[in-house]
Symmetry: C2
Subunit: 424 residues, 2 copies
């Protein structure tokens, strides 16, 4: 049976999807029984050269949504507006929606999901997290009956590419970032990636699905990778750790909490072998144990693959007259404060080398009730480097120790602070 | 809305599921909106002690299927009969079925799927492959529109446990097997696992879903791990390889082909880090790149987790009046012959040490059109060990070379043959 597809957005992913629909329609029909038919691709700038047949392009975005031949709307424009109003328009018209827009789903998911549920229209967003990796669907269907304690993800390909290159080649952050921009792996304005905002949106989506609660991006504590220098990475490596930008969501009885920050992870951990622009998501639960999903986290074709799976599912639901949104029920719940989260900290301090300085430093931690797990000292005479890894302590205690440390005359500089993934 | 669940089979997985349904019903309802209610657990031996409340147990298996309070039947007995007739009875009565039975699905999947499709009844089998790892659903939904070139799986926990212990501890096969049996990781009769039959059933299921064709277990070339000795593993390790029992399914224009045999895989490959009883499935396709799914491949609770996801999906479809089976359309297609599959072979030969013996050995390969990639010789004088890795060649050519080799007077023994995963 025929389902007409209207795509909003003709960039890398939109173009890949358009071509895949045109090229693979026969194979898709043979394998799924659904005849997907590309109707139109809405773009903002008709003058821009596209890598799909020009006849499908139109700059009348609302016209794509309203077109009677369009049964299903795929949104691949990104950003909040006009994506948000166009998708509301589609849902209100009873047209199922597939989107890869993590920013929109993280910030306005509640509104869109409730609108879709109220109208009985499918709204699917597999490609919003993890590119080609099926993670939204396993969380919302395969594991719908499951208690999930923790989600840990490497969900931003740009930052993982940068950190991997820094680690493998011993290069400086700014140098690798410039190369990534030249190669098209990083945007001209890389802030959304390197400051962790992209990961935070994905963390909010994953936490919401894993724990069945509405999670606001504003509640996701977010730190980026711009503070990570090559010295930190080299020292981490020598201690047996890799540095990764992680999105971590914890559930449990004390409330959920989601956060994004760089983390040291032991080199034996499965996530440490996720290299380059790959993504991975790690799930833990009392019954399921540990599951790992990994694959290409970005790129036009892999992302279009995830979108296409949703298009087929939404088409099947449309044709069967049984559209389903949401798969899981969300409830309202207050998040736990990041202040209360227990973490191990790795600190690199530049201190004056005189007798008793280590006692002063240790005293600052002790006064804040943070205990030290291990200390390494490098250099001798003048100023030396102290590398400290603490035992787990609440963030507020760690910050209090940091204040006390910074106030010490002996401490010239706190050169790096990176959290350490707790080895459970 | 209420859905009454009848479980067939009260063993490890059945017991875990029964307890999970009883313990987590409130949480499941909150998260999915579905009120699952355990009605009965059918067992073959009422006298046996169970780890779920005894009041649910009955030995009237048909009675469980027929019970008016049972809306959905979960089959966790294993084996072909009576599982097959009970599931047909359920489907004919319009009751959706969830099963973890790989043997049944691999051997009678076509019959059951067509019966379910004809009656419009859901039939889900996520737990038949990969325990808690969601792999059936990603293949049949997320990737339903996708061309998949290759599936590689470590899908049997027992053999992976044995091979990992042999590798980590340098122990002999028989020794580790005996330990695994004592610990309950291997059956008293371990044939189904160690001879590769369990993996072959899973390979047939995965290949069918990946390529949209009916795959018969009889067409899966199957070799087990009993021929792998500690010397082979030690030598493989020293050359930078791990030994794993792999299920490999290749698609493509020349036809699909599925097979199970031990394989050397480079230590850097993601599958080489799948240790102990863990499972993993690796997918490759032109658009999606490479995806890896890994997690616990066996055990009552992880498997029950996968079953529960299916129970919720099937319940939702039942309540929505839109049951869907199959997710993908299967077609009939002849498999490619295993004879034509190209593999690299690793061989360990015990040969007499005299001038010209290597030329004779090399000549045997050359006469069969197999070229040698590398040779190592160990020992000197009397008999020596030759370790040979060939370039890729068709299985029939490799076998022809083997015959010629075996006929040489200089060759005392072909001590090991293991295929090598091609590094694409």
């Amino acid at each position: 049976m025929r389902v007409g597809i209207g795509i909003l957005g003709g960039g890398t992913v939109g173009g890949s999807l358009a071509n895949q629909l045109l090229r693979e329609a026969g194979a898709i029909s043979a394998k799924s029984g659904i005849d997907v038919e590309l109707v139109a691709v809405g773009v903002r700038d008709l003058a821009k050269k596209r890598d799909f047949p020009a006849g499908y392009a139109t700059d009348d975005l609302e016209g794509v949504v309203d077109d009677d031949r369009v049964d299903l709307v795929v949104e691949l424009m990104g950003g909040i507006d006009p994506a948000r109003s166009l998708l509301k328009r589609a849902l209100e018209a009873g047209k199922p929606v597939v989107t890869a827009n993590k920013e929109l789903m993280a910030n306005h998911g509640e509104e869109l999901i409730e609108l879709a549920a109220g109208r009985g229209v499918s709204l699917l967003f597999e490609a919003a997290v993890g590119g080609a990796i099926p993670i939204i669907r396993p969380l919302s269907e395969s594991l719908a009956g499951e208690r999930i304690d923790r989600v840990i993800g490497i969900v931003n390909g740009t930052t993982n590419y940068i950190l991997t290159a820094m680690e493998d080649e011993g290069r400086a952050y700014a140098d690798v970032l410039a190369e990534a921009q030249a190669l098209g792996f990083a945007e001209a304005d890389p802030t959304a990636d390197v400051a962790g905002h992209d990961s935070a949106a994905k963390a909010a989506i994953l936490a919401g699905l894993a724990f069945g609660v509405w999670v606001s991006v504003a509640d996701v504590h977010t730190e980026g990778i711009h503070g990570i220098d090559e010295v930190a990475i080299e020292m981490a490596n020598s201690l047996g750790y890799s540095v990764k930008l992680l999105a971590i969501a914890d559930g449990g009885e004390r409330g959920h909490v989601a956060r994004v920050h760089p983390c040291l992870i032991p080199m034996g951990h499965q996530l440490s072998s996720v290299r380059g622009s790959s993504n991975a998501v790690f799930l833990e639960g009392p019954n399921l144990g540990q599951l790992l999903f990994s694959g290409p986290g970005a790129g036009g074709q892999p992302t279009a693959t995830a979108v296409l799976g949703d298009v087929i599912t939404a088409s099947r639901e449309l044709l069967a007259g049984s559209q389903v949104t949401p798969r899981i029920r969300y409830s309202a719940a207050s998040p736990r404060s990041f202040d209360d989260v227990e973490n191990q900290w790795y600190l690199r301090l530049i201190v004056a080398d005189f007798p008793g300085v280590l006692a002063q430093v240790a005293g600052a931690f002790g006064a804040a009730d943070v205990s030290i797990k291990s200390v390494w000292q490098e250099g001798r005479g003048g100023t030396v480097t102290l590398v400290i890894i603490t035992h787990p302590a609440q963030e507020k205690a760690q910050r209090s120790a940091l204040e006390k440390l910074s106030a010490l005359d002996a401490v010239d500089q706190v050169a790096a602070i990176i959290r350490v993934l707790d080895e459970e």
